[in-house]
Subunit: 349 residues, 3 copies
């Protein structure tokens, strides 16, 4: 048997099987600061231990997206080494915050399989769970288009799992002890509370952030994500684009950091409702973003939640909120259509 | 009210007002090591806990310039988002060293205002203070040219605050417990003590250090500095240079790290007397530096201080000490003219 | 006396002298995570504290090559600032693992000197030892071609020290407490144990990893390696290549990280038998690697060791194991020929 890992092809997946992903990973203060260096986030709850303690936490937790990328990275060798495209996310829930010093591992259950009509590939649906010890800290559904190893290989029975359009507000989990009654809006950078955001409201986040090849690679290596398209420039030179693809998580985290300008008090991501990488991103371009408030919920006397849609673009300011047309087609500059819940202090706090 | 921050324009500042800057920031071992990776500093006191303990400290403190950049970054959204140019620094004092795990926040008092003659902008003078808890750790004066939002807006009364040409030696603050009687010159890399430096002496630091776009951006994000000129390449492409500007602090820290070669025992910066970014720096070029000893002072039986002028250039070795001419004009390769105090062990130690 | 360091020339070295290198260095969790970001290593023992504890260690130790690069970096100002070429390594032994928080310093003994026939340079042989406090943690022999300062300077008596072709298995040192009886092969990513590798077996590591200029510079600065060829682009522009040379240690660490795919359970490097940088590496190219098993040894009831040859290339996949021809000449794409011992769990475990 070859000792090198060719990755799984579509016909290698079995409905209901659980894959235990390799390489447990201890997150450290070094990870969180590299995260800051890659994206420049400014949400106070993730920047200051003092601020976090005043909100009932032990210290500034690691950014939920750092946890997401780390867990996602573990799944790549087992799920998406032979992927054609990452199609979507759903039902993502952050089940508790993760602190520096904790160690993550992950498993994925295959919850759906559907061969494509040309029989060259198929969609694999997995529910991935990230753990600290035996405690689940993150769970999400992802579906991805995976090549077949042999075109003639028999396809597994088709099963497309139902996924919720969004995580229900009643399923959102707040970190134990979280209390925004002492939330310091001035220190956080803006007075806008839960009550200040209306469903339907759109926000252009104004700022633009360029991403360099070295930044994208370092971030992706930090997550131990091994997808060849992010690193093997020799092979990518044969692609029509001639370029390495930037890991989609870099786009998510960059756009999310840009949301600070307008969503200053929404640092704590609670759930990922949906996500789609509309177009690939290549280094050297500048990312812009806009958001829309999709829903609101009251989670505790001091904590509300906003359901937010986040759209990111490349080399295209978002003053006019570039969006899909009536046929569902996005302008070519749109990179990302992402839907999530974030906690926000209530004014009554 | 818009939830995004347009930044303050010149007419928005009021003499005497105090701005409490957002985003408190806990510094960690990750910050200090990224600082090493960005600049390559080798001053032993900031490299080794063992060395620092032998000098009476608890552990290697964070580099004073890391503290400076972090505090400076906090001020950008409130002071210089609409800046045309950063004009100068004065009266900067490091009031105590900062250790990994401590959290910084910052305030600025507006101490001067002066509209420019064309009425399109004005100079804002602020005194910024960085704090750990209630304890001031850094204080400095900075003046910056800020655009007016509306040219017709009435200008505030002109007030130009007096600033000292240099921090007096008697105002320098040594970290509590600092004692260079056990200073290990060999471990630090050179035998040169306080007594070996003469006022007027010039030192070419020989080495050159190239800076890449990714390095400059990562450093600037780490400091949570949000100035658009450092990140928004899409916008910068419209500028005649077509380039992102590298944050001036990257030039200061790179030049300062280069000073090791000739100033091996001056790791501890105590004060910033003056500083001027003579020309902008663009990534891809190589930074060189030279220093001149401006003054000397004896601070304790084992600790002296040197007042040093640090001049940095781009793509120009400093063997002949490039400097301003009699009219005060610098050669175009000069980037920085910086004046500071640093502690140095006395030989008697 | 000039306060700047011109570096030693060949005629400045004396057989038998010991050089105590400057700049002690505390390694932190930030160093280990930057190491991950630079190379993307996935060996579980160095990724997870939980995994490391199950193998009898206190926490995930720092990667042995991070220790090597840090120690190597200290030697550059004293040994190789005027080097023409780094010729080889031998007798490298990791004597105990190093944890975050520990401080390294280093000394080198000059064990051999040989002037070249053209009298313009000479080979300097040193035995370098890295220490934590008084405890040696790493020892290796290195030889390097160093320019003469004055061609007419008298050469020291020629002495070429004998070096072992490989570290004997009986000289390998396992970290105290290391026990692979509970080694979790699934978490580590592959079932291949000591018994699965045969002497002579070759493994193509499949994956390719591009390296950017910023990554190479940041890594090299982190190691406080001051060799001008890695940083001074202004000077390098005059070289026929016009390029900065990437520090050879970046090639070693990148290739070593690539070995995960096929050598998933060999994370712990125990010795460096030999190493040669066959060709220089320039940023922007993609590194590939292949390995061959040279020898095997049983070190404890649960721990075996493999002696491995690691060959790295640039922009050249290793499916056909590119190697030297019968005259010892390598294809131009080969960068590195490296020979080391690594620990691996025994199946009986």
């Amino acid at each position: 048997m070859s000792k090198t890992d060719p990755g799984r092809f579509f016909e290698d997946f079995r409905l209901g099987e659980t894959l235990a992903h390799a390489t447990p990973r201890t997150l450290s203060p070094g990870d969180q600061r590299l995260y800051t260096a890659f994206y420049g986030g400014r949400h106070a709850l993730y920047s200051s231990d003092v601020f976090a303690r005043a909100c009932g936490l032990n210290a500034a937790p690691l950014d939920p997206l750092l946890v997401f990328h780390t867990v996602f990275g573990k799944t790549v060798p087992d799920i998406s080494l032979n992927a054609v495209a990452n199609l979507g996310y759903a039902e993502g829930r952050f089940l508790r915050s993760v602190s520096a010093g904790e160690t993550l591992h992950a498993t994925s259950e295959v919850i759906g399989l559907k061969e494509t009509s040309n029989r060259k590939s198929g969609v694999v649906y997995v529910r991935t769970t990230g753990f600290c010890g035996e405690e689940a800290v993150l769970s999400y559904v992802r579906w991805v288009l995976v090549r077949k190893g042999e075109e003639a290989a028999p396809a597994p029975a088709e099963h497309v799992p139902p996924t919720a359009a969004a995580v229900a507000a009643s399923d959102l989990v707040l970190p134990s002890g979280l209390d925004f009654s002492g939330y310091d809006f001035a220190a956080a950078g803006a007075p806008h509370a839960y009550e200040d955001y209306a469903v339907g409201e759109k926000i252009d986040h104004v700022d633009g952030m360029a991403i360099e090849e070295a930044e994208a690679q370092m971030a992706t290596r930090l997550y131990q994500n091994t997808a060849k398209v992010h690193f093997n420039q020799f092979e990518r030179a044969k692609d029509p684009t001639g370029r390495r693809l930037v890991y989609g998580g870099v786009v998510i985290s960059t756009a999310r950091a840009l949301t600070f300008n307008g969503l200053q008090n929404t640092g704590m991501m609670l759930a990922i409702n949906a996500g789609r990488h509309v177009n690939p991103f290549f280094a050297g371009r500048t990312i812009f973003a806009w958001s829309q408030v999709l829903d609101r919920a009251e989670l505790s006397p001091t904590v509300g939640a906003l359901r937010l849609r986040l759209v990111a673009t490349a080399d295209r300011p978002c003053t006019d909120f570039p969006d899909k047309d009536e046929k569902g087609t996005f302008p070519p500059e749109v990179l990302l259509d992402f839907d999530y819940w974030a906690a926000i202090p209530r004014r009554s706090a």
